[in-house]
Symmetry: C2
Subunit: 347 residues, 2 copies
Amino acid sequence: MKQLVRGERARRVLEAIILEYISGGVPVGSRAIAKRHGLDVSPATIRNVMADLEELGLLYQPHTSAGRIPTELGLRVYIDSILKIKQLSNADRERIRRSYKGGVARVEGLLKETSKVLSSFSNQAGVVLTPRLSLTVFKRIEFVRLRANMVMTILVSQAGIVHNTIFEIDGDISQEELDKYSRYLNDMLQDLTLHQVKTRLLDEMKKEKVLFDRLLSKALELSQKALQENIEDSEIYIEGRTNLLDNPEFADVEQMRRIFNAFEEKSKIIDLLDKSMSAGGVNIFIGSESELLDMESVSFITSPYTSGDEILGTLGVIGPTRMDYSRIIPLVDYTAKLLSKMLKETL
Amino acid sequence: MKQLVRGERARRVLEAIILEYISGGVPVGSRAIAKRHGLDVSPATIRNVMADLEELGLLYQPHTSAGRIPTELGLRVYIDSILKIKQLSNADRERIRRSYKGGVARVEGLLKETSKVLSSFSNQAGVVLTPRLSLTVFKRIEFVRLRANMVMTILVSQAGIVHNTIFEIDGDISQEELDKYSRYLNDMLQDLTLHQVKTRLLDEMKKEKVLFDRLLSKALELSQKALQENIEDSEIYIEGRTNLLDNPEFADVEQMRRIFNAFEEKSKIIDLLDKSMSAGGVNIFIGSESELLDMESVSFITSPYTSGDEILGTLGVIGPTRMDYSRIIPLVDYTAKLLSKMLKETL
DNA sequence: CTTTAGCACTCCTTAGACTCGAGTGCTAAC
DNA sequence: GTTAGCACTCGAGTCTAAGGAGTGCTAAAG
């Protein structure tokens, strides 16, 4: 990719245009570049370079007599081979840490807080994908008799995630009986991931068919039911949607509607975050790279977060393609690390 | 209020204008009313009536040569003394019931589903306030040892709501020990509301100071900690925000931003829903009646929902003041009743 | 061969002028 | 009390002209 932009000067011009465009949001002309960016050449020269960059597909003109705007490819090249990613300053780190007021009272709350942090420090939308239950490690199961024929199962994972399911059963079971089941299961299932738990339960059920142990049988059946429900699903927390309204490129209502529709539907965003979960480190999707239909002018910057060795989920920032990557990339990176640390230390 | 609009004809004109305005969204003129609403009088007569209604503050003109728009007061009068609230048709009821696919796997999910139902049947935004924990009845408490010094408390209410808190303790406690505590507490706290539980615990702690029972002491301390955390808070589920974008009155970006800001902040909406919880039946807030700053053109239609005798929360529809009250009022009413029934029957 | 000044050209943006039409309020007649 | 007639108001839409930002090309200079 680097070779695409041969000369040092071409690279500096591209950088200048992108910086100018990011801060201004309007097409940038040759004069502005020549003046403000310490390139000691005339606008005419800049124009020649611009024409070259346009031919390479890194810039384009909305119309003949307008300045240039970077294309997605242009941004890609910039991010991959020009942008130097700075570390977050100590002051910034400190400010981020401080904005997590209080301790970790609930994992859910911590994740929600994180999406708020991402949004307020980026001035864009912050997003956090919740852990997929099936990937987490089993910690505890409890059954609660709600009333005759109705039982609630509460599942706790090592990472402190709680999940409950309510379901109907044939015939009543007393709370004492249910407690016996859970004690039994808690012993059996220690240290398995929920995914493993599921297959383990199936194995045991097969064995049990031969042994005819009634206690065992019921316990397995109940937990089986509890695990059927959506342990593969994730949710997302999105905060700061309205920050996006401040970007002039979304002023047009039609654009806006599409973006907010995507926020409303969530499933596409979940898919995207899910995909970038396994790829370690910071991921960047520029415009149509995210393959979310109708989202040409939106970029995602994401990073997975963990708890100890478990990869739990992804967090990130959603903003216009024209966002301040140099600030937001380290922000996402640091926030992911900080969250991982908090999850590990407190749980 | 009824006296405000003396003549039968005046009332019919007001109704006609409101109906026309609701369906069209643009100021309505005298011709349209004279033609379409079976009032057998000329436009000039209508104009006279309109002038009277305007003097009463029920209508206003955006500018001299425009038609009339109902004021908030006009809508209020219409809703209070003209509108006859129809029952929902059986077909509609059936369609609503059917849109709850599957059973009640989690209360949380049920509430979220409900806000979706409200949104899709009203074509506006649907909103559901989650139960305030402190009002619900205690069912069960569990402690889980996450690791040394870290304990999770899981609280289950009779209505099937689960709430967890993680906190640090001085000195390690084994899981067996924790189980003892929870068995003890589960016996003691049956059938109290969480609010009562809180005071009860304080009482017991005072007594205990005298008795020096170590088991009791620790158990009380832990549960006390768990209850300190946000049992007074509620959350809301909002669905169908983007439906509001289809209303021409919100086409202007500035308007939109204000509304979406309110959605983002939530606390004001929570307050409003909270307030309308105690007032039984359907509540209607037109425009500035809701006292949400900057929300002149938005109406709320809300109704509390219950589980048995407990009032749990509020649900409703948020839309433009210009919404189809005759359809949405019974929708909100029916949905609240249906949700209450489901909560009661399955839990 | 590269850089630059000069210049004609393009095309968006803005503002003003104008028309059109919906709707009103008033007056006078029924 | 109701209605027809009419002058008047005012926003929405259309058209035109001016202004200006920015370009591409050419030709000269380094």
